[in-house]
Amino acid sequence: MNELLTRRQVVTGMGLLGLGLLAGCDGSTTALDFKYGKDLSNKIMGRTFKLTDTQGEVKTLSSYRGLMPMVFFGFTQCPSVCPTALARAAQIKKIMGEDGKTLQVIFITVDPERDTPQILDAYVKQFDPSFVALRGTLEQTQHVAKEFGVFYEKEPIGDTYTMSHTATSFVFDSRGNLRLGLSPSLSAKQCAVDLTTVMEVC
């Protein structure tokens, strides 16, 4: 217990120190103190990705520099958690108002075999016209999932399949540092609070 408290104090201290440093925009990724989400500032993961958008253009994390990318892995035949997460993202954008314009929602398919660029494009745009979808080959998909620590697996059912997958939304700051993991159990309001913290970084 005592040790826990100490650790928390240390983390808080680091957070405060970080705020001071970050005010100077020195490119550091000191831990952030989030109210609801998981701080991923110091994790060696989600450093970048290289995938293709629905127009056939190759995109990496730096393609979204200056924006606050929020990455979600899913598939369009997903009946529950994916539409819920994307609808939540659209709500978050609304809640954040003018600030929400910097939020770039990126949907990465874990089912590139069935999710064609056409389906993906129409799918994400029905939530918000600003949302983008990215897609890779099977190897690229495996690679990007590994980079983000995302689990996904086909669940065979007869001659078809559904999928299980990690449902976390990953948020980067405007300089491309991974910052925040948002659980699917959080409300749009709760997410917006933590996203505001990410925005305050530089």
Binding site: Q77, C78, Q118, I119, A122, F151, G158, T160, T162, A167
Partner: protein, 161 residues
Amino acid sequence: MTALLANAARVLALSLLAGVSFCALAETRVDDAWVRTTVPGQPASGAFMRITADTDSKLLSVSSPVANNVQIHQMSMTNDVMHMGPVDSVPLPAGKTVALDPDGYHVMLMGLNGQIKEGDQVPLTLTVENAKGVREAIEVKAPARGMMDSMDMGHDHGSMH
């Protein structure tokens, strides 16, 4: 007489509006059924509803003319990993309303014959079996709702924290 007819018409209109057609003899009630709209080329969608059986029963299967393959799936979440898979049946304890919603059990409509558009009425046939082994077929017309619409279906994700 006219008033009676008008009343009957109103009841009919209301039940049509609710998108639920029910049989007066049915032992199982289905409320608030809806299907998620799809985009062109999307071959699968989900159907959601609330089911109340008056005796211990189970939902065995669902069929629909809009899809070649209809299954009942269960979604579960462990450490933010969503797991999905088919189930043999859904228990319907007597008098208890069981929700088929995006957070748990749901009906998967796979191999869709066409796009499901907002406002479509999707026919569903539920097969429910009671404890005595008697099967009942329940016909439901589920309206199709858009992606953002379905957000207001009363699941408050924030309540978990």
